[in-house]
Amino acid sequence: MCDSTIPVAQAVRVTSHARLTIRTVAAVSLAAGLLAGASGCATDSSTGLPAPSSTSASATTAASQVTVSGTWFKAAKKADMSAGFAVIRNDGTQPVVIVSAASAVSDMMQLHETVADDSGTMTMRKKEGGFEIPAGGELTLEPGGNHVMFMGLNQDVAAGSDVPLTLTFSDGSSVDLSLVAKDYTGANEQYDDSAGEASGDASAGAEMDMGGDQ
């Protein structure tokens, strides 16, 4: 593992739960970061990826300055809602903003926050303006908190499956992630889309019952 001669391609492939690739120009600067990490034999034990350099002076995009780990998805049936979770760290010197999400398993996606409504019930709703991660900060997407919402699955997603997810930043750069699906019975907050913009065919006030226990 502590082998400075490890090829970058191999280093990127080392994880089953947080395969991370960066599009376009970001790929170049990330690769540089990976090399730097590998030569120091520092490894992120959560992702298996060499830890990136903390000073990406050459970073030109938001995607190139984030590190993603702990990616997972709540296994669910076709037509159900579900959600994706991860920890996203901003190693750069500028804030980054995640503005949209896309996945092959859901035609409609939203970035959600979970807040208490007037009655104290925890309710999730669309996060206006997206998720901002300050320089050096970390965004935790987790049940009961911020998360990426899959509004309606176009296929069954069984436990152990890999779910693709693309997160796009305000500068147009994006990261492609792979989320492992897990059976999970929590995250049953009420869904309220009245506070957000029109969200298509998702019904207001629907409970997010995402299959869970099969």
Partner: protein
């Protein structure tokens, strides 16, 4: 943001690993509040290293008190490697054996998904990091030398790669005359053994595995075992079973050529793997109470005080089976357990990993031994040994096998792989 989120144990691991491995040490080491870890090598050749991590501390002054260095709970066993770590590791104080039956619809693809998830859980939990979707992430913080070991029954192998992949020995053992088997403790398609030096850690690991197995399998049986508590005796010392006997004296030693050739399989998808036999041996403590001390020692051929052969003075002394008493009888009786268990054929040795058990059954306490053994080939090594004990072993007067299961133990995996990939990949 979320800097205080305890769920994000991965950050601690990251910092620790970077410090330990020297990478980025200059940057991170300068930051206040990061404890310095310590690496302790395991037994030579065992392939097991134990890391005693530091943990973030609020100030330098309290660092020594809170570093966790040396605590039983902080120790870890490497997960990755040619072999699954649970085979050669010095037995932990607590172990839970779980057997599962696959749901009918689980095919090869389902098995790949299942083992991917279970491997990821084990990879994280054994290193003190919460599993993904872990509802109680704080419970992952004390790995306590946790290992998670997976075994495959014949049905799983069949579904994964067809009949031809099933080893000839993978299935029920031959019937033995002493057996009084209860189906409730036999068989299973998948074995998951969760072992650690802390029972709370084991409970959490078992819970996580059970949750992630729900959509793949139904639990068939669960057997909980214990040995002397961690730290109660020097590590690796033989345990006492519930008859009070020193148990497990003669054993294969990790790191030796004998161990590598007799404990591990060498060919096919099982290369680097092994086989595991788990026998539930009920022990009749009430009947044992009626036996006097010399009878107890003669039944096994060893002293109760320290486990020495009746012809020796220390536990590891070689027994002298030719020694006779003043009236001409063997000092170590022909019918003793030790005499019967020993074969002239050195290839018929096994790696024993026994655990005591006590369980309330029908209002009465059932006590016994979860006799676990690893061997390259069940038919070549375990069966002849068990045949000899079946034919004659005075201990049979007080012991009864009531459960029996055999599993193929796949080899270990690397950090981008999963346990079972040599069969399913």
């Amino acid at each position: 943001m979320a800097a205080e989120d305890p769920a994000d144990a991965s950050r601690f691991s990251l910092s620790r690993r970077q410090l330990l491995l020297g990478g980025a040490a200059a940057g991170l080491g300068a930051a206040a509040g990061i404890g310095v870890g310590d690496i302790v090598q395991g037994r030579a050749g065992s392939g097991v290293s134990q890391m005693i991590p530091g943990r973030p501390t609020p100030t330098a002054a309290t660092g020594a008190l809170e570093s966790g260095v040396g605590l039983v709970g902080a120790r870890t066993v490497d997960f990755h490697g040619l072999h699954q770590a649970g085979v050669a590791v010095v037995p932990q104080a607590h172990s839970v054996f779980l057997a599962w039956d696959l749901r009918p619809e689980i095919d090869r693809d389902g098995l790949v998904r299942m083992m991917g998830i279970l491997t990821d859980d084990a990879r994280r939990l054994t290193q003190g990091t919460a599993a993904l979707a872990d509802s109680e992430p704080e419970m992952a913080g004390l790995p306590a030398r946790m290992t998670v070991t997976f075994g495959f029954g014949a049905e799983l192998v069949r579904r994964g790669a067809g009949e031809s992949a099933v080893p000839s020995w993978l299935g029920p053992l031959p019937a033995f005359g002493i057996d009084r088997l209860d189906e409730a403790w036999c068989g299973g398609d998948l074995l998951v053994e969760v072992a650690a030096d802390d029972p709370t850690t084991v409970a959490h690991g078992v819970r996580m595995m059970a949750k992630d197995l729900r959509s793949f399998a139904v639990q068939r049986w669960r057997q909980d075992g214990f040995r002397q508590a961690a730290g109660a005796r020097p590590e690796g010392a033989s345990m006492r079973n519930l008859f009070g006997q020193v148990d497990g004296t003669v054993n294969l030693v990790p790191g030796t050529a004998d161990f590598d050739s007799l404990a591990y399989a060498a060919e096919g998808w099982l290369a680097g793997g092994s086989s595991f036999v788990l026998r539930r041996i009920r022990m009749d403590l009430d009947k044992w109470d009626k036996l006097d001390r010399s009878g107890r020692e003669q039944s096994v051929g060893r002293t109760l005080s320290n486990g020495a052969p009746l012809t020796g003075s220390a536990e590891q002394d070689e027994p002298d089976f030719t020694a006779t008493t003043a009236v001409g009888f063997p000092v170590i009786p022909e019918f003793s357990h030790m005499r019967r268990a020993r074969s002239e054929d050195r290839s018929q040795r096994i790696l024993r990993r026994g655990y005591n058990y006590e369980q309330l059954t029908d209002g009465a306490v059932e006590s016994g031994l979860l006799f676990g053994s690893y061997q390259a080939d069940v038919t070549a090594q375990f069966v002849p040994l068990q045949r000899r004990l079946d034919e004659l072993d005075l201990l049979n007067e007080w012991t009864t096998p009531v459960g029996s299961a055999v599993f193929a133990i796949p080899p270990g995996c690397g950090d981008d792989g999963f346990v079972g990939e040599t069969l399913l990949g």
